[in-house]
């Protein structure tokens, strides 16, 4: 056991900077990975803060709930609007202290605790070499030919899957169950998370996948591939925001405030599109990279605030479940 501890200790030994204040930021795994925005954000912030920003990757909400008020986190980044109600009820978070008017979003933002740092529209992405009929509405999905199937994520295990059932509920209201039943024959399958679904799509197993309207930007920029397109629906699209919040019990309140201000800065905002493949939340479209500014986008945003989302959730998921089980 001694050797194991020693071995693990060696592996974990990171460059410890003595006496430098540490800002501990909890973030999802995809965010902190070397292919996500984490490393460049860390480098940019450390240039200005004389501190050591340390990411801690993993499940945000379960970990915060388990840790409670004694959490080590100073900042939590990567939460999503559909779980903010639960997160808020913990009372762990402090006001973000930034001016919501500086945000550039498709909806008016009033929340003074959770601050969006990026966003996109939940969208169906299709392979234009296979799907040749235009997809302009949910109804168009129900008329897809048999060899062009759709893969979506499970709303019970995936946040984008949950966004979809809330979106459908917003568009169809009482008729949501009926819509799911009609869509059922066109659904290839339902996956646990986004990665599995997107993998099935890029493998050619499905012709349409539930993702975000900013997803094609990756294929255009990184692969020069313009055949992956977002279907833009006339009904409008569910807006998906990623949020950052300051932990109330932080032992580094000034640093945490400095980081919240940094999130709104041009430096941070400019890093977002090409690393997190989504729109920056506090920059006008004119400043976005060309590939993003040129992306097709819906004219209307659909959005449920957290109370409506929480009230609708169980019913919307149950309609989805029974509709697709038929």
């Amino acid at each position: 056991m001694k050797h194991l501890t020693l071995g693990a200790g060696l592996l974990m030994a990171t460059s410890v900077v003595a006496q430098t204040p540490v800002l501990s930021v909890y973030a999802p795994d995809y965010f902190t990975s070397e292919w996500g925005p984490g490393p460049s954000i860390e480098a940019a912030f450390e240039e200005t803060c004389a501190c050591d920003l340390q990411f801690s990757a993993g499940d945000l909400l379960p970990r915060l709930m388990l840790e409670g008020p004694s959490t080590n986190a100073d900042i939590v980044i990567g939460l999503n609007t559909d779980i903010t109600k639960k997160a808020r009820s913990t009372g762990l978070f402090a006001p973000h202290g930034q001016n919501n008017a500086d945000l550039d979003l498709p909806i008016v933002w009033n929340d003074d605790v959770f601050l969006p740092f990026d966003w996109s529209y939940v969208s169906f992405i299709y392979d234009a070499t296979r799907v040749t009929t235009p997809l302009n509405s949910f109804e168009d999905l129900t008329t897809l030919p048999d060899d062009q199937k759709i893969v979506i994520q499970d709303p019970r295990s995936s946040i984008s899957g949950l966004a979809l059932v809330l979106w459908v509920k917003a568009v169809y209201g009482d008729k949501a169950a009926d819509f799911w039943a009609r869509l059922a024959p066109h659904i290839l399958t339902v996956t646990k998370g986004w990665s599995e679904a997107y993998g099935l799509f890029t493998d050619g197993e499905a012709a349409v996948v539930l993702s975000f309207n900013t997803s094609p930007a990756y294929h255009i920029v990184a692969e020069g591939d313009t055949t992956k397109k977002a279907a833009i629906f006339d009904e409008g699209h569910y807006a998906y925001f990623e949020l950052v919040a300051k932990v109330a019990g932080t032992d580094q309140p000034e640093l945490a405030d400095q980081f919240m201000a940094f999130v709104m800065s041009d430096t941070f905002q400019s890093l977002i599109p090409m690393t997190n493949w989504s729109y920056p939340a506090a920059q006008p479209a004119s400043e976005w990279p060309e590939a993003f500014a040129a992306l097709p986008a819906p004219s209307k945003a659909v959005f449920h605030d957290e109370n409506t989302a929480a009230a609708l959730r169980d019913e919307a998921i149950e309609e989805w479940r029974t509709g697709l089980s038929q």
């Binding site: 974990m12 993993g58 646990k192 990665s195 599995e196 993998g199 493998d203």
Partner: protein, 509 residues
């Protein structure tokens, strides 16, 4: 002398106690922490029914399919036979997401089968549904059962085989005298372990099941824990799963017979000659099995092969970390398994997969937190949990032979006054070498591919290879993810092969 005997008796009890505590304490901790109870709705009950049904069918099919394959491999000798036996263990150790892609390359919408069908003008078939779940579960578990039965064949004393030959026993009679008694010992145990594995299926069942009809208990636990953070419900569902596994483990141990063969002289098995007809059938069985297991894996391997050069250094660091975890888990698991390789040990050992890793992880997190930062313990905890996860398979692989060794040699050992260490060193381990090698290989490879509790504990600086694979997918880099999958497959196979080869090379008997 007396204290030595006491020591020998105490070791299994201590090991058993540790395993049970390791599983029960976290579960109780989560339960207590949750405070509020939870009630189950209609959707939960239908998930429970479906979970049991698909696990039952998966276990049944895996066993039925494994019998002819094991028989063919046991009685035929040909070039490449041992390579095929190694290949047989590969599906079991693949990360779920990778294996599903491989299966879809054959059975999917654009898979091999549908391509052939479209050439000959037949409408495409869809894998999604119960059939998809069963294909995947048989793909994962049939090879494991095959290997377990093969071990059973090897444990039949050569004298028995020779006697059957000289009596001219063929066909049905031979089956009744030799094969059936062996199967009675192996199959219930194999059925039980596959049933238990499939009980906790989640991503495979959902993806290949084609939608919410294929909802399993584990999805409920995941939802309650990660999504709703309803620990009360997670604990209730985890307890239910624990109960199901417990019943299954008790039942299979109860119906599996004791070692059916009297002691032999421990000589190598005589090569069994078979007629042309039998040889033909065996060849067909082996070819079909290789195609079913091999093509999906080959597709995975080839798909990522070119991309390996473009993988960043961090992938190799993660691979190193995964190897370290695998080595640690293997040692731990073997230690426990050697102590627990007996009937009641098999029941206790099942506890390792009886509780959802999410709940175990949460419980351990809560238990460690008052004393230390759980993140610093992520690797160690992963190692221990991986060892627990493999314990049920390892015990089922070791127990049949371990028990016969104890029955056959305890008189000899007592006469010679062998102490516990001499017993382990000169009799127990050398005679178990073959199953130990196989079991160690499985454990190493299994923990190589496991995502583990690392997701909860959080690890920005020490990601493992499977985690890197998920990160690549999450960052749209599907090609690099495919390359990482090839590395993972290669490493798992290699680590499996090293242990298994060690076991087979030394085991002349």
């Amino acid at each position: 002398m007396a204290h030595r005997v006491v020591a020998m008796k105490a070791v299994p009890i201590i090991a058993g106690g540790f395993v049970v505590c390791l599983v029960l304490f976290p579960l109780i901790t989560v339960w207590m922490w949750a405070e509020t109870g939870a009630s189950l709705g209609a959707a939960d009950w239908s998930a429970i029914r479906f979970t049991i049904w698909q696990a039952f069918l998966s276990a049944l099919l895996s066993c039925v399919a494994a019998i002819p394959v094991a028989r063919a491999l046991a009685r035929q000798r040909f070039i490449g036979r041992s390579a095929i036996i190694v290949l047989l263990s590969a599906p079991f150790i693949l990360p779920v997401i990778v294996a599903v892609m491989g299966i879809l390359a054959v059975f999917g919408q654009n898979g091999l089968i549908n391509s052939v069908l479209s050439v000959i003008g037949v409408a495409p078939v869809s894998i999604y549904g119960l059939s998809g779940i069963l294909i995947a579960h048989v793909f994962f578990n049939m090879p494991l059962v095959t290997r377990m039965i093969l071990q059973g064949w090897l444990a039949i004393p050569a004298e028995r085989l020779r006697l059957a030959d000289s009596l001219g026993l063929k066909g049905w009679a031979r089956f009744r005298v030799l094969e059936w008694p062996m199967m009675q010992q192996i199959l219930p145990s194999a059925f039980g372990v596959v049933f238990v594995i499939c009980l906790s299926s989640f991503a495979v069942a959902l993806t290949l099941g084609g939608g919410p009809r294929a909802t399993t208990l584990e999805l409920g636990i995941y939802q309650a824990f990660r999504f709703d953070f309803d620990l009360g419900k997670a604990a209730v569902l985890a307890l239910l799963q624990f109960g199901l596994v417990g019943v299954a483990a008790l039942f299979t141990v109860w119906i599996s017979s004791k070692d059916p063969f009297a002691q032999g002289l421990d000589r190598p098995i005589v090569h069994v000659t078979t007629g042309r007809f039998i040889r033909g059938i065996d060849t067909c069985v082996i070819v079909v099995a290789i195609a079913f297991l091999g093509i999906p894996m080959l597709t995975i391997f080839v798909k990522g092969l070119l991309g390996i050069i473009s993988l960043p250094f961090s992938i190799w660091q993660a691979a190193g970390r995964s190897i370290l975890i695998a080595a640690g888990s293997t040692l731990l698991c073997l230690g426990f398994a050697l102590a627990l390789a007996r009937r009641w040990g098999e029941v206790l050992g099942s506890a390792g997969i009886a509780v959802s890793p999410l709940v175990l992880g949460a419980g351990l997190f809560l238990m460690i937190r008052p004393f230390a930062n759980p993140f610093d313990w992520a690797l160690i905890v992963t190692m221990i949990l991986n060892a627990m996860l493999s314990l049920p398979f390892v015990l089922r692989i070791l127990r049949p032979q371990a028990e016969s060794i104890r029955t056959d040699y305890h008189r000899l050992a007592a006469t010679m006054g062998l102490g516990p260490w001499a017993w382990v060193r000169w009799i127990y381990v050398p005679r178990l070498r073959r199953p130990i090698g196989f079991a160690a290989g499985l454990t190493a490879a299994l923990s190589m591919g496991d995502l583990g509790v690392i997701v909860l504990f959080g690890t920005s600086d020490h990601a493992t290879l499977p985690l890197k694979l998920y990160q690549l997918m999450g960052a749209y880099r599907m090609d690099q993810a495919a390359a990482a999958a090839t590395v993972l497959l290669g490493l798992s196979l290699l680590s499996f092969w090293i242990f298994d080869y060690w076991g087979r090379r030394g085991a002349h008997a």
